[in-house]
Amino acid sequence: MSSGNQNASCCSCHPTPDIDQLKELCRLMRIDIIKMLHKAGSGHPGGSLSAVEMIVALYFHHLRHNPKEPLWQDRDRFVLSKGHAVPVQYAALARAGYFDPALLDTLRTLGSPLQGHPDRLRCPGIEASTGALGQGLSIAVGMAMAAKLDQRDYRVFCMLGDGESQEGQVWESALNAPTFKLNNLCAILDWNLGQLDGLVADIQPIEPVAEKWAAFNWHVVEIDGNDIEQCLAALQEADRTTDRPTMIISRTIKGKGVSFMENDIPAWHGVAPNKDQTEAALQELQG
């Protein structure tokens, strides 16, 4: 497993991110994801790969966090509501210094802190145990409310899947957050067009998405979520939005970076690549 503590904590007080460095991190994390899923023999590549740029923008520039002190009171919170995509978060946590990157090799094995879905009691840097879709945004709403109650200035971020946003509970939270004026809350929709049984558009369409969130009184930003600069800009726009919560509609490609996955979205939701597929994917990513 390639390692490398690229960086300790990063935060938005660094005004000019090194875009080339962040892009390189995206590439390395895609390699981490492929390697760890192949080693584990199961897991979810498509929705992990689609989210890489946003996760890098958060952990290596935007979030105020300290990997050496994961429970620092004033840290920003990130909740991965689409918990099955946790390999992308493990790659970021390892590279940010939360734990030894060698642990990536233990994904999904007995006793590993790297459970198949996020487990906050076992893994440092995981803020909420998720994996049952639909629940994370409500938890994020609660965290944002607590920040207000305690007059702390930490921000709360939550990533959802487009399939996940079919869940009714998502829309309960969509109602709650503007009501409680949670301008410290930023949701991110990883809009990669796929879900488990097929394409969202074929199963239970959610469009028009931006209009839905706007109608629920969220500030809506639409971006190409596989463009790191657009991810960074959208997160900044969320910071500047002071009267309501922000929803970043992040259009992404499921399986991004591995062409045979990009070309067959339904096939690569929840299957790990075999040996040959792993070699092909790594060749493409290592260029």
């Binding site: 999904r108 198949g116 994996g131």
Partner: protein, 307 residues
């Protein structure tokens, strides 16, 4: 190794689903629950509702109230997680709905606790009119699905496995709703098991027999209403009862048997099953850790007998 009970379920639905009253709902897991086998054959009566389990339960109730026989399918944890919808729209309403939970137990392995149905029986077992079925092999599953389409009236929870199961029965098996099957006769000890771990119970019973301990082995496919008579009869003869299940021992088969025994035939009881949250790992590693494989069940029974 035979089929997973979810695979047998998909096959049986495709076979007996010719009845036009049968309607299948699934919440974006149809490839995993195998309800897609029905969907491919009868697309007009198959609805993938997306990831909307709560709504799916209510929709099934509505279909049932208009004469349909709806099956609503997802993982055991997610579908029974919508308990309020089940208790009011299905249970209290007495809607003729079949709730199907696959990927039961810690046996699903690597996905970890959030996808493992470990309390599903416990939640729905509290509803007075809820029938609960958990077949142990292919023949039992096919027969149960046929029964649910052709005969049963009222709310049902059907619990199925992800993993392949060894055959417990042979051709010519007849399913009798509400009745325990005696898989082995004995008078030293009663072992009562359900679902995928019936195989582990049989392994333990055979090993005990070699050591001169003859176990009476009961397979319980109908967890509610439970076969009180067979349990009491066996317990009275053996004086010692063990239950085996891949589910929490709180609220599952172990609790159901404890209720019967303490009311009718107080007997020493060992409940084997889950007592903590599940976790990730290979199915083999998890069964080893939690003592649910054949040798694990045997070891627990032996140390209990010695105590």
């Amino acid at each position: 190794m035979g089929k997973a009970s979810r695979a047998s379920f998909g096959m049986a639905l495709a076979e007996f689903g010719t009845d036009p009253r049968v309607v299948i709902l699934d919440a974006d897991l149809s490839k995993s629950t195998k309800s897609a086998d029905f969907g491919n054959k009868f697309p007009d009566r198959f609805f993938n509702v997306g990831i909307t389990e709560a709504g799916m339960i209510g929709t099934a109730a509505g279909l049932a109230l208009c004469g349909k026989i709806p099956f609503c399918c997802s993982f055991a944890c997610f579908v029974t997680g919508r308990y309020d919808q089940i208790r009011v729209s299905v249970g209290y309403t007495n809607a003729n709905v079949r709730i199907v939970g696959t990927h039961a137990g810690v046996a699903i392995g690597e996905d970890g606790y959030s996808q493992q149905g470990l309390e599903d029986i416990a939640t729905v077992r509290s509803l007075p009119n809820m029938t609960i079925l958990q077949p142990a092999d292919h023949l039992e599953t096919v027969a149960a699905v046929k029964y649910l389409i052709q005969e049963h009236q009222g709310p049902v929870y059907l619990r199925l496995t992800r993993q392949n199961l060894n055959e417990v029965h042979s051709e010519g098996y007849t399913f009798q709703f509400g009745q325990a099957d005696r898989l082995q006769e004995g008078s030293d000890l009663t072992i009562i098991a359900t679902g995928g771990v019936v195989g582990s119970a049989l392994y333990a019973a055979k090993a005990l027999a070699e050591k001169g301990v003859q176990a009476d082995v009961l397979n319980i496919h109908t967890i509610r209403p439970i076969d009180r008579e067979s349990i009491v009869e066996s317990a009275a003869r053996t004086g010692r009862v063990v239950t085996v299940e891949d589910h929490s021992i709180v609220g599952g088969l172990g609790s159901a048997v404890a209720e019967v025994l303490s009311e009718e035939q107080p007997t020493r009881l060992l409940r084997i099953g889950m007592t903590e949250y599940g976790e990730s790992g290979s199915p083999e590693d998890l069964y080893q850790k939690f003592g649910l494989n054949g040798p694990g069940v045997l070891a627990k029974i032996e140390s209990w007998l010695e105590a």
